[in-house]
C-alpha cells in the first residue's frame, strides 16, 4: 500500500513540476504575476511531496519490505539500521530519488527569497529547475521505479513491476541481497550524497544564467544572486571527490586513491569548469569583463554534470563505478540533446549583448592571470574529456576497444597542474587592471628567494627527481606567497590600529572573507599537492608469500607475519585477518591487521588494507586474497606511500578555508536589501 502511495506521490509531483513549467512560461509571456506566482508555489510544493515519497521509501528500506525489487537488491536482514537507511542511494533507482529530492530542495529554497528586483528572472529560473526536476522524476516513474514489486508471471519468471502483469502472483522474498560490500564504508555512505549535492547545486547558477540569457539582462546580477550557491556546489563537489579518493584508498586495496577511471573523471570535469568559473566570476564582478566566458563556463559546468551522469548511468561506458545497464540511456540522451542545443543557441543569440564594459589593459594584471588560470583549467578539461571520449571514437571507427589510462592523464595534465601551481603563487601578487611586469616583478622577488632555496636543500637531501624538485619548489613558492600576503595584510592592519598579531589577523580575515578564505583554500591545495607528489613519484611496492614468522622489507621497514585468524562476523561476513609486526631496524613500531571480508550472501570479497599512517609516509599492507591464503602462509602486498597523509590534511584545511570564504559578511544582508 505504502509503495503504491509513494509511486502516486511521484506521479503527482511530476505533474506538478510540468505545471510549474507551463505556468512560468505563460506568466512570462502574459506578464502575469499570478501565473508566475502559481508556478512558484507549485515548485515549492514539490519539495514536501518528494520528501514524503523519499520518507516512504526509507521506511520500506528500513523495515525490510523485500517484496519491492529495490529494497530486495540493496538491503538484507543482517544489515545494521544506518546501512539500511543509506541503502537509499545504494542503487540506481534510489540515487535518482535522492537526486530529485535534493533538486527540489534547492529549487524551493531559491524561490523562497525576495524577488522584487529580479522579477523577470523568476519564471525562467523556475522553468529550468522544474524541467530538470521533471526529467529526473520521469526517469524514476518510467524506468527506475524504486517502488516496483516482485511478481511471478504465469511462465514462472520473476519480474519487478509496479502493476501486476496479467495472471501474475505477488512474491515476497524472505531476505534481500544486501548492499554491495564496497558501499559499506563511511566514505562511500557520504560520498554519493556529497557529489549529488554538488551536481544539483550547480543547476541553480545555471538556471539563473539561462534566465539572464532569455530575458536579455546583461549585468552580473545572476552571478551575485547565485554566488553562494556556486560556492556551496563547489564545496560539495570537492568534498565528494575527496571522500571518493579516501574511500578508494581505504577499500579498493590497490594502494592508491585515484585511478583515472572514466567515472572519476566525469565527476572531476564539472569541478574543473566550476573552479574556473569561481575565479573568472570575480573578474566580472570587479571589472565587468568576460561575461560571455562566464556564461559559457556555467553552461559547460551544468552540461558536464548531466553528461557525467549520463556516461555513468547509461552503459555507454563501462567501469567499476558504473551502475548496471539500464534503460534510461535514450531518455537521458534526449535530455542532453535538448539542454545542450538550447543553451548553446541562447548563448550565441545573446553573445553580442554580453560584450565587456571595460577591456583588458595589461598582460600582467590580475584579470589576465585569471584568464590564464581559466585557460589551464580548460586544458585539463580537454585532456580529461578527450581521454574519456576517445575509446568510444576508437571503438566506433576500428571496432577495437582501447584503454586510456593513468600514464596518458599524468603526462598530459602534470605540466598543466604545475602551471596552475605557479599561477596560484603569482596571481595573488598582481593587481587588478593596471599591473605591469615591473610591479609584478617587485612583488614577486621576495617570496621567490626562499622558494629558490627549496630545490637546493632538497637536492642536498637526495631528491634528484626533477619533477619532484619543480613540484616542491612551486609548492613552497605558493606557501611563501600566501603567508607573505597574510603577513603584509596583518602589518597594514596593525599600522592602522595598534593591536597584536592575532587580533590583526582576525580583523583582516573578517574584512574580506572571500579573499583570505580563498588564500586558505590555495594553501590547502598545495598541501594536497605535497601528498600527491609524494605518492605519485615515490610510491614503492613489493609482494611476497610469507610463512608465519617470515618477514618482508620495504623502504627501511620490516614486516613480520605473526598469525592468521578467520572468524564469522555478526553482519554475515567471514573475516580473514592477518597480524603483522612492523619494525624499523630493531625498533618495534606496532601491529598491522590487513584483512579480507567475505560476504556470504552476495559472494563478494572485500579487501581491507592494514595501514600505518604518519605524516612522513603510509605503510599499506594488503592480504592478497586472490592468491593462495592459508593459516601457515599468506601472500602480502605492501605499499610504501610517502607523504600521502598530507592529501587528507589538505582536505581538512580546505573545509576550513571554505568556511572562512563563505562565512556571511556582516553587511551582506544590508547590501542585498539595498541593491
Amino acid at each position: 500500500m505504502l509503495a503504491q502511495s509513494g509511486f502516486g506521490v511521484f506521479v503527482l509531483t511530476f505533474l506538478l513540476a510540468l505545471f510549474s513549467v507551463g505556468a512560468a512560461v505563460v506568466g512570462y509571456f502574459d506578464k502575469s504575476d499570478r501565473w508566475v506566482e502559481a508556478a512558484r508555489r507549485a515548485m515549492q510544493l514539490t519539495f514536501p511531496l518528494i520528501s514524503l515519497a523519499t520518507l516512504m521509501l526509507a521506511y520500506l528500506l528500513v523495515t525490510g519490505h523485500y517484496e519491492l525489487q529495490y529494497v530486495y537488491s540493496v538491503t538484507s536482514n543482517d544489515m545494521p539500521f544506518y546501512l539500511k537507511l543509506t541503502a537509499l542511494w545504494g542503487g540506481q533507482a534510489g540515487s535518482l530519488v535522492l537526486w530529485s529530492w535534493l533538486m527540489s530542495a534547492f529549487a524551493s529554497a531559491v524561490t523562497l527569497r525576495k524577488w522584487e528586483r529580479d522579477r523577470e528572472l523568476l519564471p525562467w529560473v523556475i522553468v529550468v529547475t522544474s524541467v530538470t526536476l521533471a526529467f529526473f522524476l520521469s526517469l524514476t516513474i518510467l524506468y527506475e521505479n524504486p517502488f516496483a514489486r516482485w511478481w511471478q508471471t504465469t511462465g514462472g519468471d520473476f519480474v519487478p513491476r509496479m502493476f501486476a502483469p496479467a495472471g501474475a502472483v505477488p512474491i515476497t522474498p524472505a531476505d534481500g541481497q544486501g548492499l554491495n560490500p564496497l558501499l559499506r564504508h563511511p566514505g562511500m555512505i557520504i560520498h554519493p550524497p556529497m557529489l549529488y549535492l554538488g551536481f544539483v547545486a550547480f543547476v541553480i547558477p545555471y538556471a539563473f544564467a539561462i534566465a539572464a540569457l532569455v530575458t536579455g539582462r546583461s549585468d552580473d546580477r545572476w552571478i551575485r544572486l547565485t554566488r553562494r550557491w556556486t560556492l556551496v556546489a563547489w564545496l560539495f563537489l570537492s568534498l565528494g571527490l575527496v571522500l571518493g579518493m579516501r574511500w578508494a584508498y581505504d577499500v579498493l586495496g590497490w594502494g592508491g586513491y585515484w585511478g583515472w577511471d572514466p567515472v572519476e573523471i566525469s565527476a572531476l570535469m564539472p569541478w574543473l569548469t566550476g573552479t574556473a568559473f569561481l575565479h573568472s566570476v570575480m573578474i566580472q564582478e570587479k571589472r565587468g569583463m568576460f561575461k560571455q566566458w562566464n556564461m559559457l563556463l556555467i553552461i559547460l559546468t551544468y552540461a558536464l554534470v548531466i553528461f557525467g551522469t549520463f556516461l555513468t548511468r547509461s552503459g555507454v561506458l563501462s567501469s567499476v563505478h558504473a551502475f548496471s545497464q539500464s534503460a534510461i540511456g535514450p531518455m537521458f540522451f534526449a535530455f542532453i540533446g535538448i539542454t545542450f542545443v538550447t543553451s548553446v543557441a541562447l548563448l550565441i543569440y545573446r553573445w553580442k549583448d554580453l560584450r565587456a564594459e571595460v577591456e583588458m589593459k595589461s598582460l600582467f594584471s590580475r584579470e589576465a592571470l585569471f584568464l590564464l588560470n581559466n585557460l589551464l583549467f580548460m586544458g585539463v578539461l580537454i585532456v580529461c574529456f578527450w581521454g574519456v571520449i576517445f575509446p568510444l571514437i576508437s571503438e566506433l571507427v576500428t571496432g577495437q576497444k582501447v584503454t586510456v589510462g593513468p600514464p596518458f592523464y599524468l603526462r598530459a595534465n602534470g605540466p598543466l597542474f604545475g602551471a596552475l601551481l605557479a599561477l596560484m603563487g603569482i596571481a595573488p601578487l598582481s593587481a587588478w587592471g593596471r599591473s605591469t611586469y615591473k610591479t609584478l616583478g617587485r612583488a614577486l622577488w621576495k617570496p621567490s628567494i626562499p622558494s629558490a632555496i627549496v630545490p637546493v636543500v632538497l637536492a642536498i637531501l637526495g631528491v634528484h627527481n626533477w619533477i619532484a624538485l619543480v613540484g616542491f619548489t612551486l609548492v613552497a613558492f605558493v606557501i611563501f606567497v600566501t603567508l607573505f600576503e597574510f603577513w603584509r595584510g596583518v602589518r597594514s592592519q596593525q599600522k592602522k590600529q595598534k593591536v597584536n598579531f592575532l587580533v590583526a589577523l582576525w580583523q583582516l580575515a573578517g574584512r574580506n572573507h572571500r579573499r583570505y578564505g580563498g588564500y586558505l583554500i590555495h594553501l590547502s591545495m598545495v598541501v594536497m599537492a605535497i601528498g600527491i607528489l609524494g605518492i605519485e613519484l615515490y610510491q614503492t611496492t613489493t609482494q611476497k608469500t610469507l610463512a608465519v614468522g617470515e618477514d618482508i622489507q620495504i623502504a627501511g621497514y620490516t614486516l613480520r607475519f605473526d598469525s592468521l585468524a578467520q572468524f564469522p562476523y555478526t553482519d554475515g561476513r567471514i573475516v580473514t585477518r592477518a597480524a603483522l609486526s612492523v619494525f624499523r631496524g630493531d625498533k618495534f613500531l606496532g601491529n598491522l591487521y590487513p584483512r579480507y571480508d567475505y560476504y556470504t550472501a552476495s559472494g563478494q570479497p572485500m579487501t581491507i588494507a592494514g595501514v600505518r599512517s604518519t605524516l612522513a609516509d603510509d605503510l599499506y599492507v594488503v592480504l592478497v586474497n586472490w592468491e593462495n591464503v592459508s593459516a601457515a602462509q599468506a601472500p602480502f602486498k605492501v605499499y610504501h606511500n610517502p607523504l600521502v597523509n598530507w592529501l587528507w590534511i589538505g582536505s581538512l584545511m580546505f573545509i576550513f578555508g571554505f568556511l572562512v570564504a563563505a562565512w556571511p559578511e556582516r553587511e551582506d544582508e544590508k547590501r542585498e536589501g539595498k541593491i
Binding site: 570587479k286 571589472r287 565587468g288 549520463f310 547509461s314 552503459g315 555507454v316 561506458l317 563501462s318 545497464q325 540511456g329 535514450p330 540522451f333 542532453i336 540533446g337 545542450f340 542545443v341 548553446v344 550565441i348 553573445w351 553580442k352 549583448d353 560584450r355 565587456a356 564594459e357 571595460v358 577591456e359 571520449i389 568510444l392 571514437i393 571503438e395 566506433l396 571496432g399 577495437q400 576497444k401 587592471g433 541593491i675
Partner: protein, 195 residues
C-alpha cells in the same frame, strides 16, 4: 556595483559565422557519438535475423577444422554454425561443455552442422586442460584480440552461444549455459528441417 566607467565601448559583434558553424558541428558530432555509443551499448549488438559479419577463427593445434589451422565463417555458408564462447576460468562454462560435445557428436556425421568453440580472453595452457578435460573434439581457437566476440557482444560474458543458419543469418542467442543436450538440439534441428 564598482565597475569603472566605460573607457572604450567595444564594438558589438555577434559570434562570427564560422565559429557558429564550428560550434554546431562539434555539438552535433558529440551527440552523434553518444547516440552511436548508446546503440552499441545494447547487449548483444547483433540481433536475431541480422546477417553475421565474416570473421576468421585461428584454431588451436589439435583442434583444426578439416585439417586447416583457421576457419572462416563465409566458408561454412551451407552449414548451421554454432559459435560457443567459453573460457577456462569460467565456472558456468563447465556445466555445458560436456553437453556441447555430445550435441556436436550427434551432428558430426551429417556434415550439416559445425560447432566452433571460441576461447574468450584465456591462457592457452589452461584452455588446453579444459578442452582435454571435456574431450572436446570440435574446432576450437582463441579469440585473438577479442575481434570475434566484439562482433557479437560488446560486453561479452561467457558462456554465450550464437547459432548462425546456412545463409549466414543469426537465428539464436543463448546467454549463459545450456542445461541439456536436448536443449541444444531443439535449437539446431528446426534449422535443418528446411533443407
Amino acid at each position: 556595483m564598482s565597475q569603472e566607467p566605460n573607457t572604450t565601448p567595444a564594438p558589438k559583434r555577434g559570434v562570427p559565422l564560422w565559429a557558429q558553424i564550428l560550434v554546431w558541428i562539434g555539438l552535433l558530432g558529440l551527440l552523434g557519438l553518444l547516440a552511436a555509443g548508446l546503440l552499441k551499448a545494447k547487449n548483444p549488438i547483433l540481433s536475431i535475423g541480422s546477417s553475421v559479419p565474416d570473421f576468421t577463427l585461428t584454431l588451436f593445434s589439435g583442434y583444426e577444422y578439416n585439417g586447416a589451422s583457421e576457419v572462416k565463417l563465409s566458408d561454412l555458408s551451407d552449414k548451421v554454425v554454432v559459435i560457443n564462447f567459453w573460457a577456462s576460468w569460467c565456472q558456468p562454462c563447465r556445466t555445458e561443455a560436456a553437453d556441447l560435445e555430445t550435441a556436436w557428436r550427434s551432428y558430426e556425421e551429417t556434415g550439416q552442422v559445425v560447432f566452433l568453440g571460441v576461447d574468450y580472453v584465456d591462457t592457452e595452457p589452461e584452455a588446453r586442460e579444459y578442452m582435454t578435460e571435456f574431450n572436446l573434439s570440435y574446432p576450437n581457437g582463441p579469440d585473438m584480440g577479442t575481434r570475434i566476440s566484439q562482433i557479437f557482444n560488446r560486453n561479452l560474458g561467457v558462456p554465450e552461444t550464437y547459432v548462425v543458419d546456412q545463409q549466414g543469418v543469426l537465428r539464436f542467442i543463448q546467454i549463459g549455459p545450456f542445461q541439456s543436450v536436448a536443449e541444444i538440439q531443439a535449437i539446431i534441428d528446426p534449422l535443418l528441417v528446411g533443407r
